[in-house]
């Protein structure tokens, strides 16, 4: 079985070495206003995306603001 991580609740293969690499694969670069990331339940500031490795079992939440009341 290959190593997996959860991204926004969906299980996927661990392919990217860092948080920044995973986000770049989805068109999100550090400094994109309105995007924020939590790694294993804690906010990961965008300045640390580059240096933060991903390991099997990690859970990432990637959010942005949407219309709301």
């Amino acid at each position: 079985m290959s190593a997996c991580i959860r991204v926004n609740g969906r299980e996927e293969d661990l392919a990217a070495p860092t948080v920044a690499a995973l986000l770049a694969g989805r068109g999100i670069v550090a400094g994109t206003r309105g995007v924020a990331v939590a790694l294993n339940g804690a906010v990961l500031p965008s300045r640390r995306w580059d240096e933060t490795p991903l390991s099997a079992g990690d859970a990432l939440e990637i959010i942005r603001p949407v219309q709301g009341g």
């Binding site: 991204v7 926004n8 609740g9 969906r10 989805r26 068109g27 999100i28 206003r33 309105g34 995007v35 924020a36 990331v37 939590a38 339940g41 804690a42 906010v43 500031p45 965008s46 939440e61 990637i62 959010i63 942005r64 603001p65 949407v66 219309q67 709301g68 009341g69």
Partner: protein
């Protein structure tokens, strides 16, 4: 006459806060925002679509209004705190409309979790505006924990039922050490005016505008209603009487 609303040291020109959800389209939302005169709009925080990144709501709103992210949909203090922290990271905004609900159908606040989340977020440097029950005790506890305002509901979120317990709202306003923002339940302009007449500092609404037949026109009506209700509050209403009292002179009646 200067009658500026101040919450946590920040001044607002308008006493109407507007939600951004449920409009027929984005242009109607922007037009309604302009017509409302509001300078604070609410946003929700959600998982990004992993299929593609579309135009950011933040860019759409631009500098038209300040942003007040919410924690809508959160069921626990833990979820709400993380959502608020993500909102701060995403937007650079440390104001939060704190919602912690205890029932997904009623969207009614879970008071225990709300109090816990308020305490944690205040300690973390947030300006916390909790959506809460129309309960003077809960409102007092929230203020004591450092909430910058309290936002009691007029009725269920999205119900448009108006202010179901005006006396409770009036009591909260009379006793609250922090500004009271009527949040949820507003259905039409008279509801917003009533909130202000009862002593609320501001009104937060969304569906009443976004689901009106003509949202832009309703946004203008809400702007006027809030202004009229506020003016009436400051003017001081006449006392209520149980019986008639003629306003025309009683002397000189024809035929007497």
């Amino acid at each position: 006459m200067n009658d500026t609303l101040t919450i946590a040291g920040r001044e607002f020109r308008s006493r109407l806060f507007l939600g951004t959800a449920g409009y027929p389209n984005q242009q109607v939302m922007l037009d309604a925002l302009e017509a409302s005169g509001s300078d604070l709009v609410t946003l929700a925080i959600r998982r990004i679509s992993l299929d593609g990144y579309s135009e950011s709501l933040v860019d759409v709103i631009g500098d038209r209004a300040g942003l007040l992210p919410n924690t809508a949909g959160c069921l626990t203090a833990k979820e709400a705190v993380l959502t608020a922290q993500l909102a701060r990271e995403a937007l650079g905004v440390d104001w939060i409309k704190l919602e912690v609900i205890g029932d997904r159908e009623l969207l009614y606040p879970d008071v225990e979790e709300l109090l816990r989340a308020t305490e944690e977020l205040v300690a973390d440097g947030f300006t916390v505006l909790p959506y809460c029950n129309d309960d003077p005790v809960t409102c007092r506890k929230l203020a004591d924990l450092g909430a910058a305002a309290v936002m009691p509901l007029g009725a269920f979120i999205g119900s448009g039922l108006g202010i179901r317990n005006p006396h409770a709202i009036e009591t909260i306003c009379a006793r609250s050490p922090v500004p009271v923002v009527l949040d949820a339940g507003i259905g039409t302009a008279s509801d917003a005016a009533l909130a202000m007449e009862l002593g609320c500092a501001a009104v937060l609404l969304n569906t009443a505008v976004s689901k009106a037949r003509d949202p832009v026109r309703m946004a203008a009506a809400m702007r006027d209603a809030v202004a009229a209700g506020r003016a009436a509050r400051l003017a001081g209403r006449m006392p209520k009487r149980g019986f008639a009292e003629a306003s025309s002179p009683q002397l000189g009646l024809i035929g007497t």
